[in-house]
Amino acid sequence: MMGLPMMTILIFLPLAAAIVVAAIDRKKTGALYGVGLAGSLAALALAAVVFVRFDPDQAALQFVERMAWIPSAGVSYHIGVDGISLPLVMLTAVIMPLALLSAWGSIAERIKEFVFSMLVLETALLGTFLAADLVLFYVFWEAVLIPMYFIIGLWGGPRRSYAAVKFILYTMTGSALMLVAIITLYLHSGPSLGARTFDLAQLRQLRVAMPLQAWLFGAFALAFAIKVPVWPLHTWLPDAHVEAPTAGSVVLAAVLLKMGTYGFLRFLLPLFPQATLQFAPLLSALAILGIIYGGIVSWAQPDVKRLVAMSSVSHLGLVTLGVFVMTVPAIQGSLLQMVNHGISTGGLFLIVGVLYDRTHSRLLGDYGGVAALMPRLAPLALIVVLSSLALPGTNGFVGEFLILLGTFRANPVYAALATSGVILSAVYLLWMYQRVMQGPVAVKERARMTDLTRREQWLFIPLIALIFWIGVYPSALLRRSEASVRALVQDVRERGNAAHLASHESRVTSHDR
């Protein structure tokens, strides 16, 4: 078992399944979905093995594989997993089979291309989270865009073409400048590291002088902030989420947005510690604005899918805040909350999808009393809603509590403002639940409101299990991420402050002269 390149197999298993899908006759829908599901479940099984065998005491990368890729340019195929990427790898592996399963009933045309795109997307996502070389990371990061562009553009709602283009232009603009920053880092790595390299572990040793470091920080931060999205760069998000098919929205909200917050932790903080300390207040302020803005805008939405989409701006604002207050509990909370948001918002989009499949309406006003018609959906939906608004006992509570605790220690004002977001989310989510599920039956076409099918029930059962499992026993995840997070926080604080002091001292000494 040790000899096997576990991580490579994990990344490329879905791609292999995609190739099999490409070879299947397009009329055999069962086989197409079956192979897609089998491929993503196999990846999940492999990810579970990694999860179990992961050594929680080790802060560095594990299951490392390293090969020369383009040696002349200092690019290597370097992958591995640590406490920061592990939760996201697990999240991806869990969400993808569910997304495929959710499509099984609702996407009925061009199934072959759809399953193919989803599997390619999974490979790109896993690669993004596991890459430890900047060029390799960039390749996977950009490769995510292409299948997602087609998923939104081909299987989406009426304005799908506009939404797909907006999505890809926004995210490409950010990452284009990140590419310039990546190359600049590479060019600067020559003199101090001996040889030019794109390897993350080596580039972390690099000390980039300040004005340049701030520029590079800006380029990386922009790419990640667009992806999260951090207010005010969020305007692509409602369009993309609303127009995407259910499975696309689920993956977009649950996994793609986390690429941004993961990027903060994996690249921004360790590569630019000094600039991070300098700009953390700015990003924290934007995060808080996002929390409040997202909450208020969600409250005002008449469209239930848009409501869920805008709630992501608010929830991920909290995650971003946790990252930039840079205390161990806050970052651990952020990591956990990335997973939680994936589970709960993924669940919310699934609920919206289930309703939309029946009524073809997304307007809150077209619903009411659904609980009476769909008695099996109602309790499941309630649990998902409560998880999203962070009721104690559910997963959301643990994550938000840790973030707020960590934030309070660093800055009580931030924590107080962020708490308002928690209250707002309770308001709009419960309001949504009430409008849709409770009250007199107000759905026009009652006959279509059949209860959940067996397939649809299976969509929610794993999510509900995870909601309670993480809610009651979060240490399975927290224990695995702790060592890496602790090392990261210590590293950023030491190097950031040391560089800061050094520049301060040099200024003082130059004054003395």
């Binding site: 383009i70 390749v139 284009a176 400048l177 310039v180 190359i183």
Partner: protein, 477 residues
């Protein structure tokens, strides 16, 4: 004065190409109408033989013909690219020329002669040789543009190309005359020596030379001919000229600027940087609103000329290697995109509108997938050849401190994603047109498969190709 020693052994690849061109033209005269397809085999075998001799020829710098000609690594890499381009272009043309009745020995012979021109430009170490190469490249292309004798659009394209091309050549030649006046020689070495203390006349000559090359490469502001000519010329001729003219012109840019005038990089790089920025902006922005796939690819070729120029601007060995890699990637992805269009027809005519592509992918998924691949690559998205090509030129340019050029490059790449992905998207959406049918065949399929494989291999397993193109950089060290 003794005549210079003539060593024909160095010229084997060029001689093979010439012999093939002559043989194809003669065979075209004598073969009966039903057997003209044998010309394709003849041309393909000759081109492959030339490719083989180029790759096996030595890469140690060997001058010949009294310093007019040099065979070195740059010669080898660019000649291989030119031969690959002509090979793929022949395959692309196979069924088209048969269907439209253009098939003749002349067609293939002209293609081969144009490739010969690009090969000579790559091997030039003297302005006269460069001029000969340039004309050998250009004149067949004028004829190819006008090759559809009964099509008015094609006639117009040929005339336009010829007039503007002749205009460009005049600039070029006048530049050579001034440089000869300034240096008393036409050799690159003399250029390098006199560039240290440049006279006004020297600089004027260099500027005119650059304008001539800019015409051929379709670089802004000397690009106006490109969209009209591309639109009017027969589709496979458009495909071929969009690639081979770039290969020749950028070989010349490398020879003149990066090799001969390396020491004065500081002076000319600013000028070329400005041209490059302008080209990337104009090419990409103008492509946004095109409805004809030929015009779109014309503006795309202008935009890519700007991207390739960033590697020249770098003026370093790695910049030169990056240019060579880009030309190779560009050959695969552009010819691939044209191959997809050549697989279709609209009532026997070229299916050259973007709208003609709508829904095609649902009738032919492989064709849709291939077009998506080429468009993603042209947009510079990973994991394709187009991404690594841009990655290399931008790395080289950043290394040379050209941050403004690189930032323009990445941002205009984002703009380009809009129109490239729209083409791919069109193939997957909407209803197929009843008028549009498939016109595939073995030859064009072979070209399509080769181009797809090239784009994927260069994007994912580029190791061997990169060590091949890196020889180019070595000649500068």
């Amino acid at each position: 004065m003794t005549p210079p020693a003539v060593d024909l052994r160095l010229l084997v690849p060029e001689l093979v190409v010439t012999a093939t061109a002559v043989a194809v033209m003669l065979a075209g005269l004598f073969l009966p109408a039903g057997r003209q397809h044998l010309l394709r085999w003849l041309a393909a075998v000759g081109t492959l033989a030339a490719l083989g001799t180029t790759l096996t020829a030595g890469a140690d710098p060997t001058p010949a013909f009294a310093g007019m000609y040099v065979r070195d690594a740059l010669t080898r890499v660019i000649q291989a690219t030119a031969l690959l381009a002509v090979l793929l272009a022949q395959w692309l043309s196979g069924e088209y020329v048969e269907r439209t009745g253009l098939e003749a020995g002349e067609y293939y012979a002209l293609m081969l002669v144009a490739a010969l021109g690009a090969m000579l430009m790559a091997a030039s170490s003297d302005l006269i040789m460069l001029f000969l190469g340039l004309e050998t490249l250009s004149i067949p292309l004028y004829v190819l543009a006008a090759f559809a004798r009964t099509d008015l659009r094609s006639q117009e394209a040929g005339l336009k190309y010829f007039l503007l091309g002749a205009f460009g050549t005049a600039f070029f030649l006048y530049g050579i005359a001034l440089l000869f006046g300034a240096t008393g020689s036409t050799g690159y070495r003399a250029l390098a020596e006199h560039a240290r203390t440049p006279a006004v006349i020297f600089q004027a000559g260099l500027a005119l030379l650059t304008i001539g090359l800019a015409f051929k490469a379709a670089v802004v502001p000397f690009h106006f001919w490109a969209p009209d000519v591309y639109e009017g010329a027969p589709l496979p001729a458009t495909a071929y000229m969009s690639v081979i003219a770039k290969v020749g012109a950028f070989a010349a840019f490398l020879r003149v600027y990066v090799v001969a005038l390396a020491a004065q990089a500081g002076e000319w790089s600013t000028l070329l940087a400005a041209i490059s920025v302008l080209t990337m902006i104009v090419g990409n922005v103008a492509a946004l609103r095109q409805t004809s796939i030929k015009r779109l690819l014309a503006y795309s070729s202008i935009a890519h000329a700007g991207f390739i120029l960033t590697g020249v601007v770098a003026g370093t060995p790695s910049g030169a290697s990056a240019v060579a890699f880009y030309l190779l990637a560009y050959t695969f992805m552009t010819l691939g995109a044209f191959a997809v269009v050549l697989m279709l027809h609209r009532r026997g005519e070229e299916a050259d509108q973007i709208a003609d592509l709508s829904g095609v992918a649902w009738r032919a998924p492989a064709l849709g997938g291939a077009m998506a691949l080429f468009m993603v690559s042209l947009a510079g998205l990973p994991p394709t050849a187009g991404f690594l090509a841009k990655f290399y030129v931008f790395t080289a340019a950043l290394d040379a401190g050209q941050i403004g050029v690189v930032v323009t490059g990445v941002l205009t790449s984002v703009v380009s994603a809009y129109y490239y992905l729209r083409v791919a998207y069109t193939m997957f959406t909407g209803q197929p047109h009843e008028d549009v049918g498939f016109a595939g065949g073995r030859w064009v399929t072979a070209a399509l498969v080769t181009a797809s494989a090239g784009v994927v291999v260069l994007g994912i397993f580029p190791g061997r190709v990169i060590s091949f193109v890196q020889q180019v950089g070595e000649i500068l060290r």
